[in-house]
């Protein structure tokens, strides 16, 4: 018993020692390299949502490599400090706090999910460190404060533009809405319905599902009874592909509309014939003949051996906007960087021209893509 107790105390002591020495060392190393400009990223690198976080980190990495290879910013190299958030709010808050007070970063690209961004952003804003999220599309993110920016198309904007496009360009007037019950689906559905109403149209039926559902027959039967011309699906490609297939099996002939959650090669793989003719909004199109886009796609493929997705492209642009602001500011002082970021206007990126509104939200061109012969094609 006594031996055991000794063991416990020793392990306790070891823990405490480890905690303090472990952290102390990191603090020291971060002070050594004053010569470089430090940029952090926050996002899930592990856990269920890791694919988004890894894409984001990779996009930023490509941008930083490109700048460092061409001599850095005003002669200074940039170092990237990626931090894992596991997709968890408390972890994202911790990671952000660590980047700010321990690694002394000049700016942060992140966080990736809307929920973790809403938890992490107040910390960056209070500390006066600029933070650009390249994927937090939920309402309220840029409203956190002057230091918070975002470089992605907001849910409200894309749903509104697609509704307008569907009514005015496609001349559709009978709509059904099917959305996933989370922040993304909820925001898409609300805006789509509101925009329809402003155009004197009313959705015939609004149904919902939960991410991970496999059987949509109940919703499809209800929707089919109203005979719509088009179904707006506010959700992600996995479910969208299944919905399209099950609708086809039931003989429902409609046009499927969707948001940027559709944009993945997996939509084509999972959906097959059923997703032919699907129309959706997106912030990035990797077949764009634009020289910069192709340069990015080639660099990404060479380094990570896979096609870049929208997360990577928007993160790349966010990093480039940030680097441009640091160049113009001529210093790594966060307040000066923030002032330059706020002035960003018509920045020519690979996801279109970007400007920031007064509260830090991006104004971007929104692309509309269509599935034709088993491939994505830009139609606007």
């Amino acid at each position: 018993m006594q031996k055991l107790r000794k063991l416990v105390w020793i392990s306790l002591l070891l823990m405490v020692v480890l905690v303090f020495t472990g952290c102390g060392q990191q603090g020291e190393t971060s002070k050594q390299d004053e010569e470089t400009i430090k940029i952090g990223t926050v996002g899930p690198l592990s856990g269920d949502t890791a694919t988004y976080g890894v894409s984001t980190k990779n996009g930023v990495e490509i941008a930083i490599e490109e700048i460092n290879n061409s001599g850095g910013i005003n002669g200074k190299k940039i170092t990237l400090i990626p931090q894992d958030s596991k997709g968890d709010q408390a972890e994202a808050a911790n990671a952000t706090q660590k980047l700010i007070s321990q690694d002394n970063v000049s700016a942060i690209i992140g966080a990736v999910l809307s929920s973790e961004t809403l938890a992490a952003a107040p910390i960056a804003n209070d500390a006066g460190i600029p933070m650009i999220s390249s994927s937090a599309t939920a309402p309220g993110v840029p409203d956190v404060g002057p230091f918070i920016f975002r470089n992605c198309i907001a849910d409200q904007v894309q749903a509104a533009q697609l509704a307008e496009y569907a009514v005015k360009e496609l001349n559709l007037d009978k709509f059904a809405v099917l959305y996933t019950k989370n922040d993304y689906g909820e925001a898409l559905k609300d805006t789509f319905v509101e925009t329809l109403k402003s155009l004197d149209k009313e959705p015939l039926v609004v149904e919902s599902y939960v991410d991970g559902d496999n059987d949509f027959s109940a919703q499809i039967t209800k929707i089919a009874a109203q005979k719509p011309q088009a179904i707006y699906v506010g959700g992600y490609y996995t479910e969208a592909a299944k919905i399209a297939q099950q609708a086809k099996q039931k003989g429902l002939e409609v046009i499927f509309l969707g948001g940027d959650g559709f944009y993945s090669p997996k939509l084509l793989e999972l959906g097959g014939d059923a997703v032919e003719g699907v129309i959706f909004t997106a912030g990035f199109y990797d077949k764009d003949p634009d020289e910069n886009v192709q340069k990015f796609v080639a660099a990404y493929k060479a380094k990570f051996n896979e096609d870049p997705d929208m997360f990577a492209a928007q993160a790349y642009d966010a990093a480039m906007i940030l680097i441009e602001a640091i160049k113009k500011a001529g210093t790594t002082d966060p307040a000066a960087i923030q002032a330059e970021l706020a002035k960003t206007k018509d920045f020519p990126g690979i996801t279109g021209k970007t400007s920031f509104t007064e509260n830090g939200d991006a104004v971007k061109d929104i692309l509309i893509l269509k599935v034709e012969n088993g491939a994505f094609k830009r139609i606007r």
Partner: protein, 287 residues
């Protein structure tokens, strides 16, 4: 040395300690397996956050309201299920956690899937640790009281406990209510520290994470729960330097700890016992 980052991790350790202590009372001390601790945490978090945002009530009031609301739901849930012996509570709490999540996802006043943002940041290292100390002392007093011994008797053998005249249902509900109260308290602190809450944050994984702290620290041991919360909060932070492999290392650390200390780090160790044996040993050496 104590920059904002360490302080923040310290606060999260404190909040997790309160949560783990609550579950330890239910699972470790009274022996009733609960898999829905995060649901009670979410009830506390949402109640206190809504009161703060809508009515701007003082922090102490909203915190207590959240905790009492969680305890209230604990009693309602405990009444039908704790009359039965066996693992019914585990299944019921599992279901209850899912129901709570779905209700929050659909509740207009709870912000639906978007959650609640802009909650005033009232929790800090001082009030969190004052509460941790109060909770630890209250629990030590409780466990060594008549009630606490009844809890432990129920854990050891329900039939024997009943035979000695302990009304087991009442005591089980009591333990469950106190544990839920602490979960609600932790949830309120969590909401007022992070300033943003969202239903998906209080899922099954959160319940398991808290259960991990209790099991790792040692079931039924109060210093064990404190240590479990400390380790499971600090280790993932310390492992940040391995980046993508962080969760892999975290898993390895957990496996090794369970191999070498299957009863938990401080399984069967209680603070009072530790002090009293030392006293006795001192007496022996003096003689």
């Amino acid at each position: 040395m104590f920059n904002a980052y360490y302080l923040q991790v310290l606060v999260v350790v404190g909040i997790n300690t309160i949560l783990a202590l609550g579950l330890n009372l239910i699972t470790g001390i009274t022996g009733q397996l609960s898999l829905g601790h995060a649901a009670f945490m979410s009830i506390g978090a949402y109640t206190s956050a809504i009161l703060s945002l809508k009515y701007q009530l003082p922090f102490a009031v909203v915190l207590l309201s959240g905790a009492f609301m969680a305890a209230f739901f604990g009693i309602i849930l405990g009444f039908p299920t704790l009359r039965l012996s066996g693992d019914y509570l585990a299944i019921t709490t599992l279901g209850f956690a899912e129901i709570t999540k779905v209700v929050l996802l659909n509740m207009e006043s709870a912000g639906k899937a978007l959650g609640l943002a802009g909650i005033p940041q009232k929790a800090n290292v001082y009030n969190v640790y004052v509460l941790v100390i109060v909770v630890v002392f209250a629990l030590i007093r409780l466990i060594n009281s008549r009630v606490g011994r009844a809890f432990q008797a129920i854990r050891e053998d329900e039939i024997a406990a009943e035979a000695t005249g302990i009304p087991i249902t009442r005591y089980k509900i009591m333990a469950f209510a106190i544990g839920s109260f602490l979960a609600g308290l932790g949830g309120g602190l969590y909401a007022h520290y992070l300033t943003y809450i969202n239903p998906t944050d209080f899922g099954f994984l959160k319940s398991i994470e808290i259960l991990n702290m209790v099991v790792l620290g040692g079931m039924g041991s109060i210093p064990g729960s404190v240590l479990g919360a400390l380790i499971l909060t600090v280790v993932p932070e310390m492992l940040r330097f391995v980046q993508d492999y962080r969760m892999l290392f975290y898993g390895v650390v957990l496996i090794f700890l369970m191999i070498f200390r299957p009863n938990g780090l401080l399984g069967g160790v209680s603070l009072t016992k530790m002090l009293s044996t030392r006293k006795r040993r001192n007496l022996e050496t003096n003689n």
